[in-house]
């Protein structure tokens, strides 16, 4: 009987081993382990054995059953894997075929850079202020300490609607409007369209965008302005960027400065991009003129502040290495889609 069991086991294992399809395995299971199967038949005949033989053969028979079951299980897994493999093979795609066309629109490069600048400053606790583009001479010049003889007031520089109304030439009038209405602390940036009487060319446009910054509080220093602009420049142009302030003049700030950044192309060594200077002029800034504070009802003995104005087109052109400002306003879709 023991030999018979061994024989069944050998036969079953060989049959299972050669079965590839699930159906063949099922047939083997029925043949050996099923109610009418060969092993079942043998176990049924156990009654004829002696009491001593019975547990021994029973154990052998159970072992054989366990082995056959394990073999079927293993073969079943093998067969499933085989089936899956066959299916996956059949489902193979040419992944190099083009993707389905999803058309996304693009933001204008000026918007992208503007949003980035706004995010830098809102992250530092600044609010965004706005003001009218058709502006009163009062806010555009008078409140900003611009001398009556200042050339910027000339019709060759400024678009006039009438004697008291202009297209704002700068975003600085927003400063005055905000200071008039708000008591310090003030931290704002004020982006917007501005207008100058310039013909269109590669570097000029009669309409362009500025971003004005203004901070008024107690104990604000030129060092704070420098630190703020340094953060701004490094965020926009990379950590390796350094800045320098160069004395300058604007009617509404004193002391005034131009901010240069180290040339992002040559990192200060001098190249055609920076005309050999190693520095690129980026913005004008300074400490808010006491006359401006006073005009807006803020006591310059108590409060000080700084202001700066960035040309959005200029930093956008640098950012994307665009060599002609007119491209920004041509709105050729082949251009717009690149950003």
């Amino acid at each position: 009987m023991r030999e018979k069991l061994q024989q069944i086991l050998d036969q079953a294992l060989s049959e299972i081993g050669s079965a590839e399809a699930k159906e063949a395995l099922e047939a083997a299971r029925v043949r050996y382990l099923g109610k009418k199967g060969e092993l079942t038949a043998i176990l049924r005949g156990m009654g004829q054995l002696t009491a001593e033989e019975r547990p021994i053969i029973g154990q052998v028979a159970n072992e054989v059953r366990g082995k056959i079951e394990a073999a079927i299980e293993e073969a079943g897994q093998r067969a499933a894997a085989f089936e899956l493999e066959r299916r996956l093979k059949k489902e193979t795609l040419d992944v190099t075929l083009p993707g389905k066309k999803i058309t996304l629109g693009k933001k204008h490069p000026l918007t992208t850079v503007l949003d980035e600048v706004i995010d830098i400053f809102t992250g530092m606790g600044y609010s965004v202020a706005e003001g009218p583009e058709v502006e009163l001479v009062h806010y555009n010049f008078d409140m900003l300490n611009a001398p009556k003889t200042h050339p910027s007031r000339d019709p060759s520089d400024t678009f006039y609607v009438n004697d008291s109304m202009v297209l704002r030439t700068q975003t600085s009038p927003i400063q005055a409007r905000v200071m008039e209405k708000t008591q310090p602390p003030i931290r704002i940036i004020a982006p917007g369209r501005v207008f100058r009487n310039d013909e269109f060319d590669a570097t000029h446009s009669p309409m362009f965008h500025q971003i004005e910054g203004l901070v008024i509080d107690k104990n604000i220093t030129l060092g704070d302005l420098k630190g703020t602009l340094e953060t701004f420049a490094k965020t926009l142009y990379g950590e390796e960027t350094s800045i320098r302030l160069r004395p300058s003049y604007f009617p509404f700030t004193e002391p005034s400065a131009e901010m240069d950044i180290s040339c992002f192309k040559c990192h200060g060594k001098g190249c055609p991009m920076c005309k050999g200077e190693g520095w690129i002029e980026v913005l004008g800034c300074g400490m808010v003129h006491p006359n401006v504070l006073r005009a807006c009802g803020i006591d310059p003995e108590v409060y000080t502040g700084f202001a700066f104005g960035v040309g959005l087109e200029r930093i956008t052109l640098f950012r994307y290495k665009i060599d002609d400002l007119r491209l920004l306003f041509d709105n050729d879709e082949r251009f717009l889609k690149q950003f």
């Binding site: 204008h108 965004v128 583009e133 019709p155 009669p206 420098k226 002391p255 006491p290």
Partner: protein, 905 residues
Amino acid sequence: MKLPYSWLKDYTDVGIHNVPAKQYAADMTMAGTMVGSWESAADGISNVVAGRIVSMDRHPDSDHMWICQVDVGREAPVQIVTGAWNVHVGDTVPAALHKSTLPGGVAIEKGKLRGVESNGMLCSLKELRLEERDIPEAAIIPAALLGDYKPLDPAKPSIPADIKPGDKVFGPVVAAKVLSVITARYGLFSVKLDTGAAAVVTESACSNLHENDLVAYNTKSGGICTLEDLHAQQAEFPHCISDGILILPDSYPCKPGDDICAVLGLDEIVFDFDILHNRPDCLSIIGLARESAATFDKPFALTAPVIKETADDVSNYLSVEIRDADLCPRYSAAMAKNIHIAPSPRWMRDRLRAAGIRPINNIVDITNYVMLEYGQPMHAFDYKCIDGGKIIVRRSDEGERCTTLDRQTRSLRANTLVIADPKKAVAIAGVMGGENSEITEDTQMIVFESAMFDSVSIRTTSRRLGMRTEASGRFERGVDQEGCVTALQRACQLVEELGAGQIIGGIVDAYPVKKPVRVLTLRPERVNALIGAQVPRDFMVKTLEKLAFTVDGDKVTVPSWRGDMDGEADIAEEIARYYGYDKISSTLLSGQTTKGGLTKRQKFDRLVNDACNAVGYNEARTLAFMSPKAADKIALTEDDPRRKAVVITNPLGEDQSLMRTTALPAMLEVAARNYNFRAPEIHLFEQAKVYLPKLTDNGNVDPNQLPDERMTLTMATYGEDFFHLKGCIEAVFSMLSIHGCVFLPCSDDPSYHPGRCAEIRCGERTVGHAGQVHPNVLKNYGIGAELYAAELDLDLMFELVDQEHRYQPIPKFPATMRDLAVVCDDALYVLQLEQSIRSAAGKALDHLDLFDVYRGAPVPPGKKSVAFSLALRSPDHTLTDAEADEIIRRILGVLTAEFGAVLRL
């Protein structure tokens, strides 16, 4: 403002010997006086040296070229061929050697000229980018050579071709042959002539004479004739031109081989400063020298001008009356007599030329030189032209005429400030002198003017007349009225030094309006608080004193020329720029924190952009202007309010003369541009402001009120259809949480196709329009595609945003789906059916989707079949079939009752 570097040495020890140009430019810029660029007249000139002509031979194969042996300081002379006729043995000339360069990128190499080797080129003034005024001694006076004669009418020559020495030309003038030429001294030649009868020796300034030349000789005056002497025209003697090689005058001492740039003083470095508007005092060499001395920490010394000898008294000759002191706070004048007009000396010419001013003559040059040096514009009048010796400073009458030095007769507006005598205007004050009082060759007595004029008045005049001069530019920005007399004295000193005349004693100084001396307060702690540094008080005081401020305790007295200084902040800037902006350390803001961030509206505007991007639209940015023609181009009706716009009085051009009231024209222009670039399709949007003027009661634009600036969203596409655009707009609305907008047919917007335009409404309010742009409008813009556009009011859209935006619970029970197809009149809008279905179904309708519109058999003509898919749902149980059927029956009943629509079977 141009600064010839070596000029500084008159006042301070800063120069090329101790500060290299690059460092000078960098340090001055960082101290606040910005150097824009610097250059030298020697830039571009290399390997050009002084050469002495050793010998000259005629070129064997040319009738006009000479073969010169030139000593250029080497062992042996070099051979250079020249075509110029004014060169003589012994002359010193600029010789451009083999592998040399000249201004303008000209490169000189050795070569052969008609077979004869030439190892370079002899240079003219022009080739060194100089002109005769720069070296007047080197002016070339040519004689008329008879061999050159080309008769105007070949049939009637006035000089026969076979003329020979002794033959009469006309009157006392005979032909003569040059036997020899010896240079007597610079610019003067001793010429031996064969006059036919005899050999004579004469002196001539003509430098084009050589042995065997045939000339015209005036036997009476004993001179060799020039073109002028012969009353001949240039065309008759084409080679008789005052051009040739620069023969170096004795005032340019040098030896062969010396670098020509050094010899001619071209190696001067000239810095071009961008002077800030508030620093007119730096529009002067002295101003720049003061800043330079302070920057490089060198002593600064200014010596007061001294006049050694005077004769007579100015009050015997001249009086000044200022009638309009508001425009002329000070007018001072001085006089000189026995004037001898001549070129000014080389040093003065060189400085003027380097500073960008053309030398004219000694008196004019002195006025320009003093203007450069002191920043005080000066003028010189010919005294004999000033009637009665009386100068009157007054406003002009309307239409008064004045002919200025540039020979233009100007008609003046009333209130133009003029300098006049009792009878006439002799100058437009501060702008330009009058021709009637100009300094000429025979001027005997002069009046120097050194005055202060009102900057606004000068600016207005110079703008109106279109005359921007060195003087007007300075007056516009403000001159130091305390310095008027010093400048005058300096001019007198120069007259004396140059031997240009004799100074008359005394000055006339009308000074009705004095400017108070400004005294500011120095509070070192406030200065430090402003700049964020710990600058010692000593440094502050020292800096201010270097700039000529006087400091006494906390009182700082401002020098008269520093009109820009009016407060503490100005003092802080002076200190900061000399302390060094780069030394101020960067700090981050301290103090009370602020909330910051974007407002809801600002976030909304960003979201609009994102939403448009998401539906595939690219952002455009156009100019805010509009052409007056645009209203017609987009077919606005005559009474359309958008025809009333803010008008720019000084626009770039008519097409940019209005502030736009609609962004559609700009968008159509952009579309047209892309269409012309053959773009197969476009998807563009712009968030644009429009400027709607406030109107007065009678409907005109109110000039006293700022316009209403509203944000609009304009979209445009071609290559798609109406429903694509509509779908995009709906998706944008969805992203912005704007609900309940409907598209209603709109046939009366003249910019759009009457059958393909929708008014977008939310309740009673119109959000905007969308549709196919009218073919006539598209034709106006040259667009050949079906273009769809939308114009939406973003300000209104923001008001419509569902700010609450509450969560809707996810339904617990499944929806029951039903399809419903009805046949109705073709003219019925689907929206009407939809609205009825919604109201009939009530809350049970979870979702309604149109899935088919069908016309054609078996649907009768004039009818259409419209099929919807409905999702019905109850919040508290799964609807039974019976309940769903009941709802559908109810809907159908309403559709039949309202529209006669019947179920399609």
